[in-house]
């Protein structure tokens, strides 16, 4: 089976290297895409003058005008449903959902039209649209502002999903998603948007990594951690601590949530024999379930311990004063590593 193709996003001739946060990198990526193709339009609640509640679209309306950066009426079904029509008409809409908890009024459109038009018409109707979804917790918010609903969308055939964990990926992924002919959800780890500790140089002349590839971020032999989005940072910290205790962990950033690129995970598990999948989403019927199922199938004879999962609990997101208990942290990850090593 060949790997999913990655849309070709070429670097512009005049390139710069800038040190950016994830949030600013997405902003720059959106800007680059809008400059390259005037059919790229941004739409959502408060994305114009305000620049979005997270300021990810800051300055875009000022520079590209109200026809290309639309402050829409307050209705997610409307945002996604009209984006479908615009895409059919030849636009490349980029929808912003204000917080993941508010995507559900638009779920019908995503499930019934966005995901199905291409297959229904045997490719005659393409829906090249992007849905940007700030997701994840750890920001001390009220209800519906901290969830991780990505598994619903991975479960849904016909849409793809990716998530950046660093500024370089953030800059390129949004552009690759925009210029793909498939509808793609970009899940953006909101807790990391403005974290200056994650700032890194982004070279706009570099060749981007393919969109649907996972990436080994740290090599090790004791056990493998697979993670994505907001938990990548936590897993790297856990690996750091484990190394001090003499256990070298391999850390893999999934990057693509649907389709997943699990070959590097299989290769790693064949080496380490142990896998811990980490996610902020509840575990029941989730991406981590999928990883566990596929790994046991592909790596059955290499496994020294069952695939373990460090996730949120199977409960609604709690009042955020309790989120530190609900979300995977370094301690819980290391606890799972110990369990795996002691198996």
């Amino acid at each position: 089976m060949s790997a999913p193709t990655t849309p070709n996003v070429a670097a512009p001739a005049s390139s710069t290297v800038q040190t950016l946060t994830i949030g600013k990198a997405i902003n720059m990526g959106l800007r680059a895409a809008m400059e390259r193709d005037n059919k790229v339009i941004v739409m959502g609640e408060d994305v114009g003058k305000l620049g979005g509640v997270f300021r990810i679209t800051d300055g875009l309306q000022k520079d590209f005008g109200e026809e290309r950066v639309l402050d829409t009426p307050l209705a997610e079904s409307g945002i996604i449903g009209t984006a479908v029509g615009l895409a059919v008409r030849g636009y490349r809409p980029v929808c912003e959902i204000q917080f993941e908890g508010f995507i559900f009024p638009g779920f019908d459109q995503i499930n019934s039209q966005v995901a199905k038009l291409h297959a229904r018409t045997q490719g005659r109707v393409k829906v090249p649209m992007v849905i940007r979804v700030p997701y994840g917790g750890g920001i001390g918010a009220v209800e519906h502002h901290s969830e991780s609903p990505e598994s619903y969308f991975a479960h849904l055939a016909g849409v793809k999903a990716v998530t950046p964990s660093n500024p370089v990926d953030a800059y390129w992924m949004i552009q690759q998603a925009i210029f793909s002919d498939d509808p793609i959800l970009v899940f953006e780890p909101k807790k990391l948007y403005h974290m200056s500790a994650l700032k890194e140089p982004v070279d706009t002349a570099a060749t981007p990594m393919p969109l649907f590839k996972s990436k080994v971020l740290r090599t090790g032999t004791a056990a493998t951690l697979v993670c994505y989005g907001p938990t990548v940072k936590t897993c790297l910290e856990a690996a750091e601590t484990a190394a001090e205790e003499g256990n070298e962990l391999e850390v893999i950033d999934l990057r693509a949530l649907s389709p997943m690129d699990l070959e590097p995970v299989f290769a790693s598990v064949r080496k380490t024999g142990r896998l811990i999948a980490v996610s902020e989403a509840p575990s029941e019927a989730s991406l981590t379930s999928e990883i566990a199922a596929r790994v046991q199938q592909e790596c059955f004879y290499s496994l020294e311990a069952p695939v373990l999962r460090v996730t949120a609990f199977d409960t609604p997101y709690p009042p955020s004063k309790l989120e530190e208990h609900y979300l995977p942290d370094v301690d819980r990850i290391l606890h799972a590593v110990d369990q795996s090593l002691e198996w």
Binding site: K49, P73, A75, P105, P316, L322
Partner: protein, 404 residues
């Protein structure tokens, strides 16, 4: 009353006044200033007390506030002062890190107190997330409401006792829920005479774009549900002025669904009380639903995380300051001998005390225990979840035993 709730009469007084079929495009400056969204309420605005404190006679609505003597008006005044003081205190508590976020109601005191005081104990109110003033009128303690904003709970007050449903954050969801509740009141035979029950549901101008709100209108119309749709048009949905949601004044939408719609001065507590009583009465008698658009203004930021200087001019806020809901009642009471200086001083002192008590409480609020995460996910326990709870508690206990 039946003639009063005729759609013809209430959705549009006179033909010819209809807005142009195509709204003219506003200038950039107008949009920035939100001017199109914030012009005067227009000829259709129902108002009993002007911003200058003049009582306007209304043959239709005066009967609904005939019982409001000076003492009762002083009561409404006090409600508004206390609610505002509590709001400002909560805002300050957020700034001091005691609350995760605060959703201010500043400027909307009259809309909330006027409508809240129109309700009877058996009525049911469904708030969105800004209706602390309505909650206060329903007897819910501010202390209970603050849990949501301190992120220690999500609204655990006794909704039945207070007739005040938990807050709903997802825009528009509660409009359908409230409609269903009102259908239940009707199915239970609680509608039809003066003792009938009714439901009121609160939502904003931005919310009027959501499918849930439109569906709520349709359901309520089809089932003659006894529900008052109370839209606080505070001119802004975060950074978007009302013109991003509608060409038509919002109250006029009711006509398309086949029920009455009315616009009231949302900064006039007497007007809000009268119009809401009128609408609830229509509902009690089986002549619901009714849409009320309370024309008001969000005087503060959307929430404590918002920065309104990015999208609206301070001139606009200054203009609305002149329409303050509390000041006009003070002027009216003073000018007409309804209250003297000592009354106002006493109210201030009570408000100070209220705020100090709230502050003290918040500073001493405890976090919920970690196992609260697993509580009440289901009415009937799930073995899978119980196992997770046990595993989690054992893990936590491991820290105490120095295991981790």
């Amino acid at each position: 009353m039946s003639d009063m709730s005729s759609a013809e009469q209430w959705t549009h007084p006179g033909e010819g006044d209809l807005p142009p079929a195509t709204a003219a495009k506003p200038t950039k400056e107008q949009v920035i200033a939100g001017l199109r969204a914030t012009t005067e309420g227009g000829a259709d605005l129902t108002q009993l007390l002007t911003p200058e404190g003049e009582r306007v006679a209304s043959p239709i609505f005066d009967p609904y506030v005939a019982d409001i003597d000076f003492a009762a008006l002083r009561g409404l005044y006090k409600d508004m002062v206390i609610v505002r003081r509590a709001d400002r205190e909560a805002n300050a508590l957020q700034r001091q890190g005691q609350l995760g976020i605060w959703v201010p109601l500043l400027g909307q005191e009259a809309a909330q107190v006027g409508s809240g005081r129109a309700l009877r104990p058996n009525d049911m109110a469904f708030p969105s997330y800004r209706e602390h003033g309505v909650g206060y009128c329903r007897g819910v303690s501010f202390k209970e409401m603050l849990g949501l904003f301190r992120c220690t709970s999500m609204g655990e007050w006794d909704y039945r006792k207070h007739g005040f449903h938990p807050y709903t954050i997802v825009i528009g969801n509660q409009v359908l829920n409230a409609t269903g509740y009102a259908m239940g009141q009707k199915f239970d035979g609680k509608v039809g005479d003066d003792d009938g029950e009714a439901t009121i549901v609160y939502f904003g101008d931005g919310a009027t774009s959501q499918g849930d709100v439109h569906e709520g209108f349709v359901w309520a119309a089809v089932y003659d549900a006894p529900i008052v749709f109370f839209c606080q048009n505070n001119q802004w949905a975060i950074s978007e002025p009302t013109e991003r949601q509608s060409r038509l004044p919002l109250y006029q939408r009711a006509r398309g669904y086949g029920f009455p719609g009315i616009r009231v001065d949302g900064n006039d507590v007497l007007g809000c009380l009268a119009v809401t009583r009128w609408a609830l009465e229509a509902c009690r008698h089986g002549n619901g639903p009714v849409l009320i658009e309370a024309f008001t203004y969000r005087m503060d930021a959307h929430t404590t995380t918002d920065d309104p200087t990015r999208y609206r001019l301070s001139d606009e806020v200054e203009t609305w300051k002149l329409k303050d809901p509390i000041e006009r009642v003070r002027v009216y009471l003073t000018r007409n001998g309804g209250a003297d200086a000592s009354f106002f001083e006493q109210v201030e002192a009570e408000a100070d005390e209220f705020a100090a008590d709230l502050r003290e409480f918040v500073f001493n609020m405890e976090d919920p225990p970690p196992e609260r995460i697993f509580d009440n996910v289901y009415a009937e326990p799930s073995a899978q979840l119980e196992a997770q709870r046990e595993e989690f508690l054992a893990y936590l206990a491991g820290f105490e035993g120095g295991e981790h």
